[in-house]
């Protein structure tokens, strides 16, 4: 069943000339124990979606739609309501783990604080669980690590510590916003393996935000592709990335190195994504799309079923060839 069910989420941020719509009716679903990927270029609204699910939107943001987590409506919660959801319900890890870790507190202190607040554990039980958690995210010598400060860890280890802290209050959903973007590939592989193992062992659901389609493919089972504040395509990751149905998904795949070693196989997408508020009428991808037809310019195409558990927001639905 759906652990998180977002329907038609729209967010407008305050701008110099009135509210600036950033998200235009995003719908997505994360089931219990599922690894879901959210992909898109910077500014496509993927991080803003995460922020709205944790009540972290900047003041003045206008939100409409619905986001139900384990049956509870999130949008419109008060500060106390968010406090209950964050940590124990939904937790988050960020691209830069140093931003999420307090530099002057030991790792153990930051871990136990969550448990004592959310789970009302006593000090000894919390300490024991802190060591367990660090062991679970494969930090070597966890008994010593609880007494260490964040700067004493390398980038990859710090991200593991941040994940341990996020897991401290036993959340059911972890939102990971580009958690491996700043890491080297060998270290990234370790974090991906860790998330996969946590899902298998504890039934944790993960929403993994990334711009790297390779990461999306190797980790997640279902994916969403964002463009200019909309979901343009969704489906099981394998099918989504090997047989895309939306020209943007195909274009992203074409712009990425395939390792075919023939010069000229990187096929760039012309132009750049539209700035918020400057998207053309109709399909937002239409000015950069090689398959655009006059009908694309009338109204933004709705997300329509294109196969088993798949949908795409494209009225043309051209035959797309992909090199993988």
């Amino acid at each position: 069943m759906a652990l998180l069910d977002v329907e038609n989420l729209a967010v407008a941020l305050p701008g110099p000339r009135g509210p600036l719509p950033i998200l235009h009716g995003v719908s997505l679903r994360v089931d219990e124990g599922e690894l879901v990927g959210i992909a898109g270029e910077s500014g496509c609204g993927k991080s803003l979606t995460a922020q709205s699910l944790l009540g972290l939107l900047p003041p003045g943001a206008k939100v409409t739609g619905s986001a139900r987590f384990a049956g509870t409506e999130l949008l419109g919660l008060d500060a106390r309501g968010w406090q209950r959801v964050r940590g124990a319900g939904i937790a988050m890890v960020f691209q830069d783990p140093t931003a999420a870790l307090h530099p002057m507190l030991t790792v153990g202190r930051q871990l136990t604080e969550h448990m004592r607040v959310h789970l009302r554990m006593d000090r000894r039980a919390a300490n024991r669980r802190a060591v367990e958690l660090l062991d679970q995210v494969r930090i070597p010598d966890p008994e010593r690590a609880v007494r260490a400060y964040p700067h004493q860890f390398s980038g990859g280890m710090r991200q593991r510590v941040a994940i341990a802290i996020a897991l401290a209050a036993r959340p059911r959903l972890l939102i990971a916003d580009e958690p491996t973007t700043a890491l080297d590939v060998t270290v990234q592989a370790g974090i991906l393996a860790l998330l996969d193992r946590l899902r298998a062992e504890t039934g944790l659901a993960v929403a993994f935000i990334t711009h790297d389609l390779g990461v999306l493919s190797s980790l997640t089972t279902r994916g969403y592709v964002f463009y200019a504040g909309r979901v343009v395509e969704t489906g099981p990751t394998g099918a989504l990335l090997t047989a895309p149905r939306h020209p943007y998904t195909a274009a992203l795949l074409g712009a990425r190195p395939h390792g075919t070693q023939a010069v000229g196989t990187l096929r760039p997408i012309p132009g750049g994504p539209p700035a918020p508020g400057e998207a053309p009428p109709g399909c937002p991808f239409q000015p950069r799309c090689g398959y655009a037809e006059p009908s694309c310019g009338t109204a933004p195409p709705p997300l329509e079923p294109v196969g088993p558990d798949r949908s795409a927001a494209c009225v043309v639905r051209p035959h797309l060839e992909v090199l993988v």
Binding site: P268, P270, G271, G272, A275
Partner: protein, 306 residues
């Protein structure tokens, strides 16, 4: 070669071109490409008006002032009235006339002190930051030496050594105030020395002095200019202190600082010090506001796109 469609370019090219053609002085006038023109920013307008007012007063002091600023009269400590707008001081001199004539002395002297200190300190800071190593070390120890003494004590010592006069007071104050500019410029240059755009220019064959002038200096003067406007107030006050001690403009001369000092001996005659004090305050504030506006305008990053 590979053909690539250019990205959509957002800013209005005409406005930008106009902006570039006018240079940074032209940008002060505002118009397309610079956001609001300067006369549409109320606080900048107030500052400009105040400074213009003082300029007029300084130029037309003989016309504006109803009395000779040095003329004494038996009517000492007269409170503000129709005949003496700002009252009279202990020697019966008209405070309004003295404040008006004071503008002729205090503003140019303060400007001279600050610009000379900025020039000297800026130059030494630039050299220290760019050349580095022992030059930097030597110059910075010299600034430490100056910082070690209270400014006024050092200024007194220097003036006393050179002989008391307005010119020597100015020199003394330049000597005690250049280190702040040197420090500010040096740290700005240091952060810039590692900038990629500087490296890129050097790799293209731009000589070090040319790179210093075109890539380093324009990006480091901002904070120094803001500091200089703040220091203008300090310069007025230090000059006042020196003249009060008989080391600057000689006592009978109408100088704002010495007038404040004189009046502060007996605050029940508030008008003697409050009016020259207000004169200092308005000038200093106006320069501060103007300095901020100027910095925002010189830097194209602050100029709003459309």
């Amino acid at each position: 070669m590979t053909i690539i469609a250019p990205d959509p370019v957002t800013p209005d090219p005409k406005a930008v071109k106009a902006l570039a053609r006018r240079g940074w002085l032209g940008r002060l006038r505002g118009g397309r490409g610079t956001g609001r023109p300067i006369w549409r920013q109320p606080i900048a307008v107030v500052a400009l008006t105040i400074l213009a007012g003082w300029l007029v007063i300084a130029l037309l002091a003989p016309v504006v002032a109803p009395y000779d600023p040095l003329a004494q009269s038996p009517d000492a400590y007269a409170p503000p009235s129709g005949t003496h707008w700002f009252g009279t001081d202990s020697l019966g001199r008209d405070v309004f006339s003295r404040v008006a004539y004071g503008a002729r002395l205090s503003i140019p002297l303060a400007l001279a002190i600050v610009s000379l200190a900025l020039l000297l300190g800026g130059l030494l800071g630039l050299v220290a930051g760019y050349v580095g190593r022992f030059v930097d070390e030597a110059l910075m120890r010299l600034t430490d030496l100056v910082f070690a003494f209270p400014q006024i004590i050092l200024a007194m010592a220097v003036t006393a050594a050179f002989g008391p006069s307005t010119r020597n007071a100015v020199l003394a104050l330049v000597i005690v105030s250049w280190p702040v500019y040197a420090r500010v410029i040096r740290s700005a240059v240091l952060t810039m020395r590692g900038e990629d755009y500087l490296s890129a220019a050097r790799l293209l064959g731009v000589g070090p002095l040319r790179a210093l002038r075109r890539d380093v200096l324009p990006n480091s003067v901002g904070p120094a200019i803001v500091l200089a406007t703040l220091e203008l107030g300090n310069a007025v006050l230090l000059l006042a202190a020196l003249s009060f001690l008989g080391l600057g403009p000689r006592p009978p001369a109408a100088e704002w600082g010495s007038m404040v000092a004189l009046g502060s001996q007996d605050l029940s005659m508030w008008w003697v010090s409050v009016f020259p004090g207000l004169a200092i305050l308005t000038v200093v504030l106006a320069f501060n506001v103007l300095g901020d506006t100027l910095r925002d305008r010189i830097d194209p990053r602050y100029a709003k796109g459309r």
